[in-house]
Symmetry: C2
Amino acid sequence: MGDVAAAPSIEGVACFPLREIPTEGGSVLHMLRSDAPHFQQFGEIYFSECLPGAVKAWKRHTRMTQNFAVPVGRIRVVIYDDRPDSPTRGTTAEHVLGRPDAYQLLRIPPMVWYGFTAEGDVTGIICNCADMAHVPDESERIEADAAHIPYCWPELSRR
Amino acid sequence: MGDVAAAPSIEGVACFPLREIPTEGGSVLHMLRSDAPHFQQFGEIYFSECLPGAVKAWKRHTRMTQNFAVPVGRIRVVIYDDRPDSPTRGTTAEHVLGRPDAYQLLRIPPMVWYGFTAEGDVTGIICNCADMAHVPDESERIEADAAHIPYCWPELSRR
């Protein structure tokens, strides 16, 4: 409730720590409450599975803000900011999400490029609690090796 | 959007089919949208992990409606209805949730007892999109072998 976002590397991106509560039968893992200071609006919740070696990139939304948590596996999310008016234009940021040491909520604003891959050999699951429900034509995709994004996915060359 | 709930075995319990959309890098798994006919209200989203052999039972909420989906593993959810005014009073129902054939949203109303266990040898993850945020004193717990609930968890005797 009193969680403070980590210093964002890209304007509008924020990380909020999340609690994992161990119990004998398995952990309870917090994600997002409607009374949290950083809660905005509920639009849709869905999962995206990421198989080892796969790269899901690049994508950007024109209106949707995303809130990612990774309850299973470890995922590296990469964000690239090419918004003309952004103070962090040109910045690329990596965020690793996953238990036990990096279980957190990652907020991604509209109009930045993002992509993700599983870290290691374990399938990862991203849960996205977005502020609007999916609609066609609200997002765009480009290839993971798109030349104008200065990030090289090592996973692509390992195939 | 046009999903129809399966005939409920217990008054107020409902199952809604969910889509799994396979892609090369891993599936996208729907859960709940704010414009779905069966969406009520967003309160909190969290995960509950269930380790193989563990039984998390029994619990009931006095006000919270829960919406369960299982993106990882397979979970057997058991519900027992002892509400005095319920037309299905005395009924016990089992629901198995999980991919690939039983990926669905299970709605559990307040005031019924429920519990769950992992099916098989794989850890399962329940995602709960509840209609209110967690508050203390809104739920009660009793032991998994409580005498007044006519359901025997086979997992308890295997320990």
